[in-house]
């Protein structure tokens, strides 16, 4: 019997699975108990996370003045043709002409945290979080984190944000003042 040795097998329910596949475990099934995982295994997630950071030789408030201003996102985030803000709603248009409607979730100058959700239909879920941390040594740490479904968009947005963070020393006039 093919299923011998399996426990808690969930028949595959995916649209492309049929015929004998119905007798197989799907991706949600447990690993074969005879082969213990080295680390907790994962399947390709539907929801993805990415995080990037840069340490800057700058007071945090100077960095926050740029990153914390929703209407200035096109100044540092690459590939944005235009940006308009109306209350909690922001719309950016990418260089490829793709409009991205967004909701501003958090703009907290005391915490130096900005969060926004992209509400375009292609996203089941999205949350980007920008934090500027005071490292109390004359430097600060700018962190961009993104969670998204589809997972692939976390990589795409995170990758672009990373490029944007990399432009900050130039945009803020910090070139020649590398952070330790």
């Amino acid at each position: 019997m093919e299923m011998a040795g399996w426990e808690g097998v969930v028949p595959c329910q995916r649209p492309n699975c049929h015929d004998h596949c119905q007798r197989l475990p799907c991706r949600d099934a447990p690993l074969r108990p005879s082969v213990p995982p080295h680390r907790a295994p994962t399947v390709t997630a539907k929801r993805g996370s990415a995080r990037h950071a840069i340490r800057l030789q700058s007071a945090p408030d100077a960095v926050w003045a740029l990153l914390g201003a929703p209407e200035r996102v096109h100044e540092w985030f690459p590939g944005i043709k235009s940006c308009t803000v109306d209350g909690i709603h922001r719309t950016v248009v990418t260089a490829s002409g793709l409009p991205m409607p967004e909701d501003l979730v958090t703009v907290d100058p005391a915490l130096r945290r900005l969060q926004y959700r992209i509400t375009a239909p292609m996203f089941t879920e999205h949350l980007s979080t920008l934090d500027v941390h005071d490292l109390r040594d004359g430097t600060c740490l700018a962190v961009y984190a993104v969670d998204a479904e589809p997972a692939t968009m976390a990589l795409v947005i995170g990758g672009a944000a990373r490029s944007g963070l990399g432009r900050l020393p130039s945009l803020l006039g910090l070139e020649g003042h590398p952070a330790p």
């Binding site: 595959c12 995916r14 649209p15 492309n16 699975c17 049929h18 015929d19 004998h20 596949c21 197989l24 475990p25 799907c26 991706r27 099934a29 690993l31 074969r32 082969v35 995982p37 080295h38 680390r39 907790a40 295994p41 994962t42 399947v43 390709t44 997630a45 539907k46 993805g48 996370s49 990037h52 690459p78 590939g79 944005i80 990418t94 260089a95 490829s96 793709l98 292609m122 479904e149 589809p150 997972a151 692939t152 968009m153 990589l155 795409v156 995170g158 990758g159 672009a160 990373r162 490029s163």
Partner: protein, 514 residues
Amino acid sequence: MGRKILLVTTDQQRYDTLGCNGGTLGRTPVVDRLAADGIRFARAHPQSVVCMPSRSTILTGQHPSTHGVWMNGVPLPSDAPSVAAELHGAGYRTALVGKAHFEPFLDPFLRFAENSLAQTGTEPPGGLHRGFEHLELATHGVIGPLHYARWMMAEHPEALGGFYPALDGSLQVNAAGGGDTDAPQVKVNPVDRDLYHTEWVADRTMAWLDTLGADEDWFCWMSFPDPHHPWDPPQSEVGRIDWHDVPLPVGYPEDRARREAILDGKPRHWRLWYDGTLVSNYEAPADWVPATLTPDQVREVNARNAVECELIDEALGRVLRRVAERGWADDLDVIFTTDHGELQGDFGLLFKGPYHVDALMRIPLVWRPAPRTTTTPAVVSRPVGLVDLAPTLCAIAGIEAPHWMQGGALPVDDADADARGFERVLTEWDSELFGTDVHLRTIMRDHWVCSAYQAGTSHDGTEGELYDLDDDPLQRANRWDDPAMAAVRSDLVADLWDHQPPAREPRLVLEAPV
């Protein structure tokens, strides 16, 4: 006047799809002729079995660890070394037509030059991009910012719907089935053959050649997106090969119990992927379970793949005729190869991934030197790699290979290979995707393929694969844990680590899925 250079690459083409390599399914008389007149390499390996790292190796002449593109989605830095720049600096006119993929495709922000270039034309701002003065780019479909897609959207919008959508609504590699067997990444495509990207690549190559003066030296990288999936060639051509008549590949164990026993003898991620339990990377549809693959689906995929190989061969023939019409035939070097292979039913699997076996690693490579050089035709059995292409291009152009190239100019026969130390070829894999990571390093030497795994999601770093190609050409019996092979394994692993290329620092970052 120097030698002209036509570098022809396909995408994801197996060694055994060419007639000169023993293939019987598709007809490839043009490449077969080049092989008969030139040098055919029987053991050429890529340094990565996915597109971006492998293509970056062709361009830079460096192993993935060194150029830094360790997986699809990691962009090759714009200032990375480039053999095209070397040739341009030596006075060559340079062009890349077709699939580049040194930078990620999924790029709504158009951050990457390949994706933004088509908005402005075919000549990059500043005059050169990676050493190419002319770029006309395409990929596997008709969606996106590249030249071919823009041309199709503007001129032939009625044909767009015939193509298979490479990604699904979740931006995952599409698992949807089609054709007669509901095989994944298969679709009936009614597009006119003249509009298909294979023809477009040949047409645009010839158009660029037509702009050149008769006395100019040139290097053209003509890069066909096929036979990489999706398998949606023009339906008018699909009838060339009736899939019902296609024999199952020798690498496909039809008996399921046998198939699964073979997989169970390999490191665990093989069987986990087969069962649909672990998807380690973005190179195959996440929502497709390989265990569902039927013999008829294997037949249909192989038939369509062979049709795509035939179309490429015929397109290459058209370009070579145009070269002859321009009076360049005696001066032309042609190199034909691909970036990596395709599982295509071997072990009951399709597509590609961290599986260092011949299906993915043994690739077609033919070098037909310029006829005026009167090179003696040969078959080279010694191991060579795509890392050796860049120095070969330099040698053809009569320039010294720069110090940063890690390979050597391809040997012209086995004696030349032995004299110059072509003993081993290395391949590497690193994937890290949403918490799942796989790392392996492989050496092919003598008649052995040996892969050592490093710790990752599914491996503790003690696993490996060892195959004796003489006794086990289908790589079904993993001898890694065979006590009788301990000395062989130890020697190969030591050789593998002794010859690892230097790693780029800092490590480049994954910026997109593909």
